[in-house]
Structures are given as structure tokens and as C-alpha cells.
């Protein structure tokens, strides 16, 4: 599927696919791209007279200088694509629509790498109220959490934030959270010694109550880990 490019300077909206972003990066660094991709980028004003639209230049600068990388997966009713968070000297770029090369991505870009904590917090959209989490600390199957989070109309959130401090490193879980939409959250940890994080299928997990500011503290360490 190819999509129409959206470059709306009036409201700062950028929509491109990963394939289109890759083509723009190629062109910006002097390489070539397929005529079909170039035509689509020109039609959507991502390319203007052969030059990258000014709104997209800082995005490309960030993508060319990636230091840290994150992936946020959330379990909800229906399909919930993994959001990718890319942090570089040029700032933070969020690609919210998963890994498909041809899926339109509502790009978010922020000029400072240090904004990564707030951007991830906004993506997670955790409740601001403290309270009892949806599960106590009794060991239980991970599948039980997934089932609760994916129920239609359910009030349980579940997310796994994976992170790598360097672009080529393997992503590892830094925060797995379960929460009630009305407030009350827990960090999900393996109840047994396992490898690969709490979200492995079949793993038994334990939910440990966390205050919202404890979670914020974990998020603020992400930018610090890049230095």
C-alpha cells in the first residue's frame, strides 16, 4: 500500500511511510530513489524543486544521528501497532504505526533529545492518579494480563517499553506496566528467573505497585542513558 504524503506546515503535520522516509534520506545524502517514490514525494510537497521540505529536514537530521532507540508495545482491544522512538543529536522522532514499510506514519519530531521522557509518557498516556493497580503481587501468567488488557471496553492498560542505548544494540525491556485507566499502576516483573523480559509467552509475572512519579523517574533515565 502506498499512501499520500502529508506535509502541512500550517499545523506541523507530517505523514509519510517508512519507505518514503528512507527515500528522502537517500536523496538528502546524495543517493538516488525510485522515480515512483520521488513522484509521490513531490506530489505531497515533501520534495519541492528537488529539495527536502524544511519541515522534514530536522526529522532527517535526527534519523541520521540516531543514538538511542525504543519500541513501545501496548496491548489493547484490536490492533495496536508498535511505536518506535528514535533519539539522536537532532532530537526525538516517533514513528507510531509499526514496522510496515508502507504504513502511513503520523510523525512526531521534537528538537531536543532530553524530551524523550515526556514524549514516551505521552505515548503511554498513563493515569495521573495513584491507586490500587489492576493486579496484586501474586504470581500469575502473563497471558492473564494480556487477556484483561485486550478485552473490548476494558479498563486495564498493558505496555512494554523496550530500549537500546545504541542504535545497533538489541532492544531490551526497561519498563513493563499494567494499570487501571482510572488510576493505579504496577510494574510487571518476571516471577521466575527468565531471559527476555516479563512479556514472554508462558512466563509467570508479578505486578508490583508503583507510584506515578516512580514511573516518571524510570522514563527520565532514558535520556541520561544516551550520554
Amino acid at each position: 500500500m502506498t499512501s499520500a504524503v502529508v506535509v502541512d506546515a500550517g499545523i506541523g503535520r507530517l505523514v509519510l511511510t517508512r519507505r518514503q522516509l528512507g527515500a528522502l534520506a537517500d536523496l538528502a545524502s546524495g543517493r538516488t530513489a525510485s522515480p515512483e517514490l520521488i513522484a509521490g514525494l513531490e506530489a505531497g510537497h515533501a520534495l519541492v524543486d528537488g529539495a527536502v521540505h524544511p519541515l522534514l529536514r530536522p526529522v532527517l537530521r535526527t534519523l541520521a544521528s540516531i543514538q538511542g532507540r525504543g519500541a513501545l508495545r501496548q496491548w489493547r482491544a484490536g490492533v495496536q501497532p508498535v511505536a518506535e522512538i528514535l533519539v539522536g543529536a537532532g532530537g526525538v522522532v516517533v514513528l507510531p504505526a509499526g514496522p510496515d514499510q508502507d504504513e502511513p506514519q503520523e510523525l512526531r519530531w521534537h528538537p531536543r533529545p532530553t524530551a524523550v521522557a515526556r514524549m514516551v509518557a505521552e505515548l503511554l498516556d498513563l493515569p495521573a492518579d495513584d491507586g490500587l493497580p489492576p493486579f496484586d503481587d501474586t504470581p500469575r501468567p502473563w497471558a492473564e494480563l494480556v487477556e484483561a488488557a485486550t478485552q473490548t471496553g476494558g479498563a486495564v492498560g498493558l505496555a512494554d517499553l523496550r530500549w537500546a542505548d545504541h542504535f545497533g544494540d538489541v532492544l531490551t525491556s526497561v519498563l513493563v506496566m499494567a494499570w487501571r485507566s482510572g488510576g493505579g499502576m504496577a510494574e510487571v516483573q518476571p516471577a521466575e528467573v527468565t531471559t527476555g523480559g516479563a512479556e514472554r509467552s508462558g512466563t509467570t509475572v508479578r505486578c508490583l505497585r508503583r507510584h506515578p512519579l516512580e514511573v516518571w523517574t524510570v522514563l527520565t533515565t532514558l535520556a541520561a542513558r544516551l550520554t
Binding site: R112, T114, A115, A117, R118, A121, E122, A128, D129, D130, H211, P212, L213, W216, T217, T220, T221, A223, A224
Partner: protein
Amino acid sequence: MIATGSGPDAGMAMVAEIDVPDDWEQSPMAGPVAFMARPRHHDGQVRPTVTVTCALEGSRPSLDHYAEVQLAGTYATFGGYLLFLELTCEPQRRLDLALAIEQMGTDLTIVQRHLLHPDGWAVVATGTVSDADWPAAAPRVLAAVRSLRVVRS
């Protein structure tokens, strides 16, 4: 160490104090800020700061209404993302909140404690810390903000 001060009108304002670490200093402030305390030395770009302000809430609003107005004002001034919100009436009417904001090109964590006095006064402690410093500074700044108390009104 205790940092203490009163509001802009010494004849009316409540006197408030907070506990701060021994290596902090208290700075005299003019205007509506009762007092400010912060570390004498700090290696980061932004020195963590706790300010205490007093405000007259003559209408004696409900806690819910007070929180609504405060949040609206905060969003209008700073925007940002609400990290934490708690309202309680025990042992006294209190609003705690935390926000992630950006200001002057810096990403900041703001934590506040609002105490509403029965006679219509409010006193507010505000901790300001750069996000980069938050993991290390949070325990001391939160302790200072949460120690806010009124010693005379």
C-alpha cells in the same frame, strides 16, 4: 535545615516553612514568592529549586474547584503533561501535582504541594528540576516540597 518565609504582606500572610538538606541555601525573594531554597552547588544546567508562595483564595473554593482552577492556570501558562494528581482533605485540604513541561529550551519536572488553609489562604511549594537531574534530585526535592507546613497564619 528549615527554610521559612512569609507572603508579600507580612501583616496578613501566613508563615510557611519546609525542610531542606543542609547543603541547600535559602534565597530572599521579592514579590509574591515567600522564599526560595536550592542547593548551593549543582553540576547540571538547571539548579533544582523549591519556591514557596502564598496566595489569598478569598472565595474559599472547594478543593475540586481549586484544583480545576489551578490546573487550568498551569496548562495555560506552561502546557505540559500531567504526571501525577492527588487531592485529599486529610489531615488538611491539599493538592499535589506533578507536570512535565518545557520552558526556555529545557525539559523540566515540576512538583507542587498546595495547602489550603481554612481561613481562605493557600500556600504552595513548587519544586523545579530538569528532567536530566530528576532521577538523582527527586528524593530531596520531593521531600522538601512534601514537608511544606504553615507555622503561623
